[in-house]
């Protein structure tokens, strides 16, 4: 591995400085948490600016900063455009967030809705899908930490991965969702400024024309607007993003945490702000052939381009941006997944009479356990980031229709919702291996819709939404 971009000492110093900042903030913000609502949902009174920033920063993950360049490098222009369509998920979730707040004003998790709306069978199926996804995402984030540190400084993959997981576990345990949202605000500003600076440097130093000429000669398919796999990928990525957001407790917990009337606007604006970020990050990767870079693994292309162009300065920028992006997503995922496990598995299945203090203690323990479990699974670097990420597409896209139809229509029933998730996931996984990662979510979503429609015709149920609200209260 080329270790010339960043010395191990500089890499260690950066890790240390940011670790201290994030953990210090977590400790400081955690001091004002008094109740379970404070810890898990930031008191349910997050305002518009923080709400928008946390939604955007959480959606800018290591995948945006590292898998978007990988997709541009592998699928070309459509790869980066397709990745940016992930913004649509945030925008479409805007009205859903408003609706969630209306029908479940006192809810904690996405599992709460599935249980009350569809019953125990669908709830358990949903929990399996949700936890598989959360774990996959956690692993991809941990792996990204290791990959970026290794690519830029030559430090062992295990070191970067361990530090990023430990820091995020630390401040999430200390500060809860309040710390997560506040750090997200700072991290979102760092991410936007860092990426803009990097793209500007690429344009200045390499230039559009040279990139175009080199790609035309060496990698013509990357500029081809009729690139078949990339065409398949466009809506697959959009639906994958929709599936991720619609089902994941990361986004539901925020909808519960935002003040009345804030969620809809915040998610829509966050989507608009997020839209250009993968294009900027992906564009950087297209300069790799012009720079004669030896790209050993496609998910390292972003950091390698930055390091090659700017040496230490570029490596520092990428390091800070990716570290911020990783932290902003990892903390949110840890908080939301531990909420889901605490509420839906511990309180829902193991100890229904647990009081709020017990819940809070269990929640902190689960954050720690999740971090440790993710660390163990990150140790063998099993896949590239994009391959791992899109494997999850088959799972999450199967939940889109059960959620959307369940939120708006009374005819959708629990058995059908379970079957839709099971069949959608199974066929989506088959497509992942038989066709490619770029169709798994799309196939899963299509099968899930077919099952939902068929089930609603065969079994004529009529659910009244008053029931959800009353049961919840």
């Amino acid at each position: 591995m080329d270790a010339s971009f960043l010395s191990p000492a500089v890499a260690f110093s950066l890790l240390l400085v940011f670790s201290i900042i994030w953990i210090g903030l977590g400790w400081y913000l955690g001091k004002s948490n008094r109740t379970l609502d404070d810890y898990m949902l930031a008191g349910r009174k997050v305002g518009f600016a923080l709400a928008t920033a946390t939604a955007m920063a959480t959606w800018v993950t290591s995948n945006t900063t590292m898998a978007a360049p990988q997709l541009a490098y592998q699928l070309g222009v459509w790869g980066m455009v397709g990745y940016s369509l992930g913004a649509i998920g945030l925008m479409l979730f805007a009205p859903i967030a408003t609706r969630i707040k209306t029908i479940l004003p006192h809810g904690y998790t996405s599992g709460d809705f599935i249980r009350l709306r569809y019953g125990v069978g669908a709830w358990r199926t949903f929990l399996i899908i949700s936890l598989v996804y959360a774990l996959g995402w956690l692993i991809s984030l941990g792996m990204a930490g290791g990959v970026v540190v290794n690519a830029l400084s030559g430090l062992d993959y295990e070191i970067g991965m361990t530090v990023i997981l430990a820091v995020c576990v630390g401040y999430t345990m200390l500060g809860g969702l309040r710390a997560v949202i506040a750090t997200d605000f700072i991290q979102s500003i760092i991410i936007i400024l860092g990426l803009l600076l990097l793209a500007w440097i690429v344009i200045q130093q390499v230039g559009f024309q040279e990139i175009h000429v080199t790609l035309s000669d060496e990698r013509p398919a990357l500029l081809n607007l009729l690139f078949p796999a990339a065409i398949m990928f466009l809506f697959n990525n959009l639906l994958f993003g929709v599936g991720e957001i619609f089902h994941s407790n990361v986004w539901w917990s925020r909808a519960f945490a935002f003040k009345e009337g804030v969620g809809g606007k915040a998610y829509f604006i966050a989507g608009l702000m997020w839209l250009p970020i993968p294009i900027v990050a992906g564009f950087v990767a297209l300069a790799a052939p012009s720079l004669d870079l030896s790209v050993a693994s496609a998910d390292m292309v972003g950091p390698l381009v930055a390091g090659k162009l700017l040496g230490t300065a570029g490596a520092v920028i990428v390091f800070i941006v990716v570290f911020s992006a990783l932290a902003s997503s990892l903390d949110s995922l840890l908080a939301a997944t531990s909420d889901l496990i605490t509420e839906d598995i511990y309180r829902g299945h193991i100890n229904p009479t647990a009081d709020n203090q017990q819940i809070q203690r269990v929640n902190k323990f689960i954050v720690l356990a999740l971090g440790f479990f993710a660390w163990l699974l990150c140790l063998p670097k099993i896949s590239t980031l994009a391959s791992l990420l899109y494997f999850m597409g088959a799972f999450v896209a199967s939940a889109i229709w059960p959620i959307v139809l369940g939120i708006y229509y009374g005819r959708a029933n629990g058995t059908t919702a379970s079957l839709a998730m099971l069949f959608g996931t199974s066929v989506g996984l088959w497509a992942y291996f038989a066709i490619g990662f770029y169709v798994a979510a799309l196939v899963s979503c299509a099968i899930s819709l077919a099952v939902m429609l068929l089930g609603s015709i065969v079994k004529n149920a009529e659910f009244t939404f008053d029931t959800v609200t009353n049961k919840e209260r």
């Binding site: 009205p95 859903i96 990357l222 398949m232 066709i435 169709v439």
Partner: protein, 178 residues
Amino acid sequence: MLFQRSEHSSTFGIKTLTNANAIWPGIAFIKVLISIRHHLLFVVAALTVSPLFAEELKLSTSETEPTAGYFSLSWAGTKQQNDVLLQQSTLSSFSNDALMQWTVSNVNSFSMSGLSSGVYYYRVAPFDKPQSWSNVVQVNVKHHSLNKAFFIFAVGAALFSLLSIIIFLNSKNKTSGI
């Protein structure tokens, strides 16, 4: 490496022979034959595998028929190579008119992408011994058909449109379902 292993085996063989000889001469004779056979095998191996061949790189690919134009090439040798020359050609002869070449530093794999449909040949050599070419790897890039791509695109577009319409219409009707 190969010669070290040969010497080690030989030493082990003589020790075994000494111990067995004290027990029964018949066993000792058989052991001598086995030991000679081992020695012969290593001599043959040493002659067949010249020092030049021992440094030759072994090239492999992650996919032989990629459908999205990207795949990974990786190589291994008997010693760590810092810089290698990687050649790509559309002709198995690697003649100049269809040749592309990269110098790859400090890594033992190369992520290739963006290739049009067609057959490509690859080989690598140590940078300081440019004639010691590895085995040739053949990759046949076969992109999915556009018909299949647009069919999947259309399914995706239909799903997205339906989803958007449902959400949009219901968000307009604020009392929907309640």
